[in-house]
Point group: C2
Chain length 358, copies 2
């Protein structure tokens, strides 16, 4: 349910052309062609869904990670242990997307027989938007769950030290004739990436998103980047972030919390952890019946009355799905800063930038 | 992390004496002795943890359910289907606690071999506080997850019709030398039960908890009981409630949302659903190493600086665990209304009330 300000009037590029450029950039950083393609796909997929904070905006960061900050462009994930229902994957210090796709694929395959399977990932790095991995389960009629550890940017409830990551959770649930339900959000009032977008655009933050470094509420994006994000629901968001952080790090033996690094010095490479799960709906109930029930819940919400100030009620993932359809037709909007950063990064690697409008 | 107003100066009863009274009440309603004991235990356990909204305050409601509203006091849960990792239980229209303990026990047993096991329950009823079931996993060194469907009391984000339950989620995670992490909360800013407590005590609600029947913010508990609860984090809380509601109802084929009944006419008996999961930590990692990592996260939070206005930082479940220790020593406080209701209910069933202080 992302909505970004000011995308109208921005440069629009086709998916194919953006994919080709980003793929070429990562390949030039030393990644094997298939890994470069996958990594580019996950970022372009985020932009397509309107989740620009986790899209190609990240390319310069990722290039630094792959070339100077210690992430291994040739890192290969491997299964460390596999027991019924339980997989542990070591990402081999590859980008988080590589180990995450590997782990979720294995969880989905295994769930065909074992129905409820969790894959814990260690030895990993930043893995982008989580919806991508949860949605991988949909094609198999499964429910996908994806969670990750993140650098600590929140205080525990009642505290003021950065100790808890916003640790996003994504869940994808297949429907019947309706679009699937796809949720992907952090347990903070907003993501760090969204604050970066507001900062980039010089816009003030909505109330309630952030605290400054002294723990005072702020709407200044620069102060927020130096300060703390606020959890949703007070102690509830703090607790859920802590729990999904522990699931992401503890079950795989990845680094947790401040051992991951910090927002000033950046993350330590190859110590991040994630948590994936696939639930095979057909092991519990006739998938058609499940789909009918999900459809009923969706239809009932869609037919209900709006509150004052709203002209439509959205299901989780609906804005993103409609954005994707629109961007596929009209092109993916890239703002000036992202476009300039992408261009500079490409040039520094000797790659021609010829982004095309659709 | 519950904190209730005005428990000082209330009547204090011993756990044993409260358990004996409540057990006798449910037994007199026709429940077999072991079911009556279990149901009483779950309610007393909630009171002990300071979660009075889900404690013996519910006894008169439960007696009505068992005697006139169609819940079967002799209902017996059974396994409907069992596949690797996946169990479906029919509660047989027993109280939700009976089917929930049955399902969670089976999930835990099965998880000794299959490591990650989910149990979906249908044919059930109100099951009380979810922490009880999640915590059952702790003795086995497992992570417990418990979720349930609830009567719709929230609107979808942007809407004004009661379509989404607050659908609480509980997670229990074993630690090393520290107490386990135990989370149990709804995806609303507060529970319906808490609003009932404020209403019973004539206290105004904190801001942000509720909307009145027209969808306007209110701090009046009576207006809130006629209106809508608000989700945490706006669309995030709405989405998570929807998702855990679908997991609780869709996988078992239980009723979802408005088909469950409503807050005015009450729930339809025997159509509720729950979702339980046990994750065997030892299938992923050496449990001692897991415990050390959880301990580190806990210790780091405990040693961190407090924010202005706070004198201590709590871990999830810490207030409840300390409350339990204190109440075991000093007795469980029961306010006048709860005490009067309990007494009247007992008398109506010909049971002597002789609650003892510890």
């Amino acid at each position: 349910m992302s909505a970004y300000p000011g995308t109208e009037g921005e440069f629009r590029t086709s998916r194919e052309s953006l994919q080709a450029l980003v793929e070429a950039i990562f390949h030039r950083c030393g990644m094997p062609a298939d890994h470069a393609r996958r990594l580019a796909e996950t970022l372009v997929a985020a932009d397509l869904r309107g989740c620009h904070s986790h899209g190609v905006l990240r390319v310069p960061d990722y290039v630094r990670k792959l070339t100077v900050e210690g992430v291994d462009p040739r890192g290969e994930p491997r299964v460390v242990s596999e027991r019924p229902g339980a997989i542990v994957v070591d990402g081999g210090n590859s980008m988080g997307q590589i180990g995450s796709v590997f782990a979720m694929r294995r969880a989905i395959e295994k769930a065909r027989e074992q129905n409820v399977v969790a894959a814990a990932v260690r030895g990993s790095n930043h893995c982008g938007a989580m919806a991508y991995y949860a949605m991988m389960a949909l094609a198999e009629g499964m429910i996908g769950i994806a969670a990750t550890n993140a650098l600590p940017t929140m205080a525990p409830w009642g505290g003021r030290d950065r100790l808890v990551g916003i640790n996003p959770l994504a869940v994808a649930i297949p429907a019947g004739r309706n679009r699937p339900i796809v949720y992907d959000a952090a347990f903070s009032a907003c993501s760090h990436g969204k604050i970066r977008i507001y900062h980039q655009k010089g816009l003030p933050l909505p109330e309630g998103w952030a605290l400054d470094a002294e723990g005072r509420p702020t709407t200044d994006a620069a102060a927020a980047l130096e300060g703390l994000l606020r959890p949703i629901g007070g102690y509830k968001g703090y607790s859920l972030a802590l729990i999904f952080g522990i699931l992401s790090a503890g079950l795989s033996g990845a680094a947790y919390g401040t051992r991951l690094g910090n927002m000033n010095d950046g993350p330590r490479p190859g110590v991040d952890g994630h948590f994936y799960m696939a639930l095979n709906v057909g092991a519990f109930i006739d998938p058609a019946e499940f789909g009918r029930q999900v459809d009923e819940a969706i239809d009932e919400i869609r037919a209900s009355r709006t509150a004052p100030g709203f002209d439509r009620i959205y299901l989780p993932g609906e804005i993103e799905a409609e954005t994707e359809e629109r961007y596929l037709r009209e092109g993916i909007p890239l703002n000036e800063a992202t476009l300039a950063d992408l261009g500079a990064t490409a040039r520094s690697l000797g790659i021609a930038t010829d982004l095309k409008t659709p």
